[in-house]
């Protein structure tokens, strides 16, 4: 019999008996960031492609949510901080090796950009909107000219933000479950899928809905592919990563992951979307909500399970 015990110590709150430092705030932050990234990505993409009028919801309407989501996400991050009064320290340092720093600075760029984008399309929601002050009107006029530049910035930063939500976790080699480079693309895909789902919900145009259902289907396909590859990678790796994979393959997170994330969050909405595309009448909101739910659960389950995965003891 092999026995390994703590003779003393290791009673630190939130670290022992297993890491429990991140609760609901971080997964929510990651979900909202990913979702905002997805929304802004499609807005920028179709604007640059000149399909502003073909996909008006994606380009003009859904982005209004992005600043709100980002602000809520930032608030969640702020809630997570234990030394809140020192929050500003994030913005007096640039740490290239720190995903947390990357995230803070990415948000510093993309949040204002999302505000600007929403402001430029504010009349979509309030046709009679008036900025009241002349200087604001001047600024608006100025920005309207550079919409394409803004769209490019938005596109790039949306991808960075989407990937960042995964890299924040995958950069931790101390947690074998997180420590896979698949996590960046997976979370990006999940964010894009969620962004597409929002357009599906808000869009009234059948053409736009069809396009986004197709996009969503492709992304779900990619996600499933990434998940399979992630497990193949884990299982072909070291014992700690095999143990990490086993959290989802018979371990405590098996049911939650496969039912909430894979079946309800991917397979079922994919099936519904296929049916929809084959002209069955399915309310678009159903698969979209499922996708959003799956995307949220993915973050919660990964953040939680990752804290259970470790090297020692």
């Amino acid at each position: 019999m092999k026995e390994e015990i703590f003779v003393s110590g290791r009673m630190n709150h939130l670290v022992d008996p297993h890491l429990n430092i991140w609760h609901w705030e971080i997964p929510l932050y990651l979900f909202l960031g990913g979702l905002a990234a997805g929304i802004l990505f499609f807005a920028a993409l179709y604007f640059i492609n000149g399909k502003e009028d073909q996909y008006p919801t994606a380009v003009k309407r859904t982005p209004i949510l992005a600043p709100i989501l980002l602000i809520i996400g930032l608030l969640a991050l702020f809630f997570d901080l234990r030394h809140k009064l020192y929050f500003w320290q994030l913005y007096t340092h640039i740490k290239l090796q720190s995903p947390m720093s990357w995230g803070a600075w990415t948000l510093m760029v993309i949040t204002p950009v999302s505000f600007i984008w929403s402001a430029l399309y504010i009349r979509e929601f309030f046709p009679n909107w008036d900025w009241k002050y002349n200087w604001i009107k001047e600024v608006e006029k100025f920005l309207q000219q550079y919409k394409k530049v803004i769209a490019w910035i938005m596109l790039i930063y949306a991808v960075i933000l989407g990937i960042y939500t995964g890299i924040l976790l995958s950069a931790f080699n101390a947690r074998p479950l997180w420590n896979t480079s698949i996590l960046g693309p997976l979370f990006l895909a999940s964010g894009l899928s969620a962004g597409a789902a929002v357009t599906l919900i808000m869009s009234k145009s059948p053409e736009e809905r069809k396009r986004f259902a197709q996009i969503d289907l492709i992304i779900i396909g990619i996600e499933l592919f990434l998940i399979i590859h992630m497990f193949m990678g884990f299982l072909a790796s070291t014992q700690v990563q095999i143990d990490a994979a086993n959290l989802f393959l018979g371990g405590p997170y098996t049911m939650a992951f496969w039912i909430f994330v894979v079946i309800l969050g991917m397979l079922l909405p994919a099936a519904l979307e296929i049916m929809e595309l084959r002209k069955f009448h399915i309310p678009a909101i159903v698969p979209a909500i499922l996708v959003l739910f799956g995307s949220l659960m993915l973050r919660f389950i990964f953040v939680n399970a990752g804290q259970m995965s470790r090297w020692l003891y």
Binding site: M1, E3, I5, S8, G9, M11
Partner: protein
């Protein structure tokens, strides 16, 4: 039997009083822990103390932070007990001061005994109450009907008080519940005890034999340090233990003996050492008596004979005997400390002593050194009255080898049904939690119910205080002066304890309590100094020091008068035994009607489904007294029951499960205990650390944490020689779910 407790070398007052440069830097490469205060830039004050968390009494410094609050305690580099390194309990001693559950004011009981309804009282009220009752007892039953149970530094003051009052019934549970058998066995053999700190020269030994002694888990600081030095020097360690102790993990030989058969192994070793002529012939011839009788006595105790009893292979017995012989005389068969196991303990330790004598280790480098102690004058006071009766008159003829009062005999004498020669009617209990110290709790509680007066003096609301009529809150050792520490060691030395801070709440030092009580009893003449510091200064000046100097240096080490740490070659020595020799054959025991040489007697074995209850120590706690110390509960906050994996499988018990233990007398542990399934324990035994399972709610951190071994020790195997309470003859079984009825009981 003659009491030769005082044989120890005592240096004369003042003579040769050369202090070892206490502030001196040690020439050490790299880092050193010396002169901490000189090197730290923070504004600190430090005061000397010696530790009271256990009996080792290491000397150290109490540091305070900028706000004048106690910060940390660090060992004194000049102290032989600790060499500048405190143990976890000493380091965590700060927690004793900060423990918010401490006793705060004197309390007087207002309900029936045991119900624990008390009222706060002033010191004057509480002491008047006690004095009145004590006067009553003296007039009705005679002063010899008072008894004192005591442990620690306060012992001196309260025993002075009791002796002045007219009673000699001063018992320390450290005798009959712990090391008494060892002391008597060594006295019978060498005419001297093994002392505290033990005079084992571990740092220079080549072979250390531990029999049930778990150095490293018992954190007897100097011994642990020296064992580590010995490991560095490549010494062979032989550990005899049914449990794979920490020391066993460091040993070349671990002999996983069947519990209760140690004497058989010891006799086989003696047999082998005599038969193979491994023994130190010159030493034995010159210093020992009774060799021929011993040789005859052990002739049949072959390793093969012992194998059948101990389950230790003959080959292992022979090899280990050879190892000892190769190392001799730098070999120590350790006398142990807590040795009250099976009721034949004095005889078992006699076998240990005999083995040491044969190997010639007594008085030799790497064996047992000759201790030296600094003499200090005591204050002058009137002569103590001679008590009409003493503890031994309660049960005449019993425990005739005992050289000090036997605590359990005093408890038995408090129960009228036992028809004692005279009855004990009042107790003062100082610094010892009798409920968790003395086996057979029901008996102790019955005794208490028969008393006219029961006073408890403690720093913490221990179980025993719940049974008291009056509780007196003593301040901790960090808040008071105490007598100088003058323990024997390689060099004579003294150490000072002084308050680092004012006592918290209404707590008072033991000296003050004893003296104030003496005033109420009209006995203040026995406490001529109003303040202890005045006494200390007077005393110190008599030996060429002063309180001022000691506050500065903490420890003062003197040179030995002669270079006699070990016997000189061919030195003629008269040992303080009856025969003047090391007695392999004890004339004193024979005279008292006991076996002059140890015999093996088989002990009861656990019935089916039961396991022998073996208890021991954890390095982070001292008995049950530190269980609520915040710093130490951080290290260990409950005990576990160690169960062999085979047994656990049989019972379907899993790791970390909480179970109850039930003993052979149907006693079920009050609290459940966490299971540790481990290969470290034999399949016929279970193991738990002593001192947990506290039932006193006022101690919030430790209440109900773990289980109490004492509660399960209802069967006591009393040592007929000296009254020691053998506690390893109890067997327990497991209860995985408690029924309602059992919970109610």
């Amino acid at each position: 039997m003659t009491n030769r407790r005082q044989f120890i070398k005592i240096t004369a007052f003042g003579a040769g009083a050369l202090a070892i440069g206490s502030g001196a830097y040690k020439a050490m490469a790299g880092f050193s822990s010396t002169t901490e205060a000189a090197k730290l830039t923070v504004n600190l004050t430090r005061t000397p103390t010696y530790c009271e968390v256990c009996f080792w009494k290491c000397a150290g410094w109490v540091y305070k932070n900028d706000e004048g609050k106690i910060w940390k305690i660090i060992g004194n580099d000049d102290d032989q007990h600790c060499n500048g390194r405190f143990c976890p309990r000493g380091t965590g001693g700060v927690g004793m001061y900060f423990d918010e559950d401490r006793l705060k004011t004197p309390l007087i009981r207002t309900s029936e005994r045991g119900k624990q309804i008390f009222k706060q009282a002033s010191w004057d009220e509480a002491l008047t109450y006690i004095a009145t009752k004590m006067k009553d007892i003296a007039s009705k039953h005679g002063p010899e009907s008072m008894a004192l149970f005591t442990h620690g530094s306060g012992s001196s003051y309260f025993s002075t008080l009791l002796k002045a009052y007219g009673s000699a019934n001063v018992a320390e549970p450290s005798y009959a519940q712990c090391r008494g058998p060892r002391d008597e066995a060594f006295m019978a053999t060498f005419g001297e005890e093994a002392y505290s700190p033990e005079i084992t020269d571990i740092r220079d030994t080549k072979c250390l034999v531990l029999i049930g002694s778990h150095i490293g888990e018992n954190m007897h600081n100097g011994q642990v340090q020296e064992m580590s030095d010995a490991i560095d020097k490549g010494a062979t360690i032989i550990t005899v233990d049914p449990r794979f102790s920490t020391a066993a993990g460091k040993s070349k030989y671990w002999l996983p003996i069947k519990p209760s058969t140690d004497i058989a192994l010891l006799l086989a070793w003696i047999h082998e050492i005599i038969n193979q002529e491994y023994y130190d012939k010159k030493y034995v011839e010159k210093y020992c008596s009774g060799f021929d009788q011993l040789k005859e006595h052990v002739k049949d105790y072959t390793p093969e004979w012992a194998y059948g009893i101990t389950t230790i292979a003959p080959d292992q017995i022979r090899k280990t005997a050879k190892e000892m012989a190769n190392a001799a005389p730098a070999v120590i068969v350790h006398p142990g400390r807590h040795v009250t196991w099976y009721g034949d303990d004095t005889q078992r330790i006699r076998a240990v002593a005999i083995l040491n004598a044969l190997l010639g280790s007594w008085g030799r480098r790497g064996g047992f050194y000759r201790p030296s102690k600094q003499a200090v004058p005591s204050s002058e006071h009137p002569e103590f009255p001679t008590p009409a009766k003493t503890w031994s008159d309660a049960f005449p003829g019993k425990y005739s080898v005992a050289s000090t009062p036997v605590s359990n005999a005093l408890i038995d004498a408090s129960i009228p049904e036992n028809n004692p020669g005279f009855a004990i009617k009042g107790w003062i209990v100082n610094g010892t939690n009798l409920v968790n110290t003395i086996p057979n709790q029901a008996n102790t509680l019955k005794a208490i119910q028969n008393l006219d007066l029961m006073v408890a003096i403690d720093t913490m609301p221990m179980e025993i205080t719940g049974w008291a009529d009056v509780i007196l809150p003593e301040c901790t050792y960090l808040e008071r002066y105490d007598n100088l520490r003058v323990s024997p060691h390689r060099k004579p030395a003294i150490a000072l304890r002084m308050p680092a801070t004012e006592p918290l709440n209404e707590t008072k030092p033991g000296y003050w309590i004893a003296r104030e009580l003496s005033k109420k009893l009209g006995l203040e003449a026995f406490f001529p100094f109003e303040k202890q510091e005045d006494f200390l200064d007077w005393q110190l000046k008599k030996i060429g020091s002063s309180l001022e100097e000691m506050i500065r240096i903490g420890v003062k080490t003197f040179e030995r008068e002669a270079d006699d740490l070990y016997f000189a070659n061919d030195e003629a020595i008269e040992f303080p035994t009856d025969s003047g020799k090391i007695e392999l054959y004890s004339l004193a025991f024979e005279q008292a009607g006991f076996d002059p040489m140890p015999k093996y007697i088989a002990h009861e074995e656990p019935p089916a489904g039961f396991y022998r209850l073996i208890y021991g120590r954890a390095p982070m706690h001292t008995f049950s007294r530190t269980a609520n110390n915040p710093n130490l509960t951080d290290l260990m906050d409950e005990n576990t029951v160690w169960i062999n994996p085979k047994v656990a499988k049989e019972w379907g018990i899993v790791n970390d499960q909480y179970i109850w233990l039930k003993n052979q007398d149907e006693i079920i542990s009050e609290f459940s205990i966490k299971v540790r399934i481990t290969e470290r324990i034999r399949w016929d035994s279970i193991y738990m650390v002593h001192g947990f399972g506290h039932a006193q709610k006022q101690m919030k951190r430790c209440f109900g944490r773990g289980a109490s071994d004492t509660q399960l020790i209802t069967k006591v195997l009393t040592d007929p020689l000296m009254g020691g309470t053998g506690m390893r003859g109890n067997f327990v079984t497991f209860i995985t779910e408690k029924t309602e009825q059992e919970v109610a009981s």
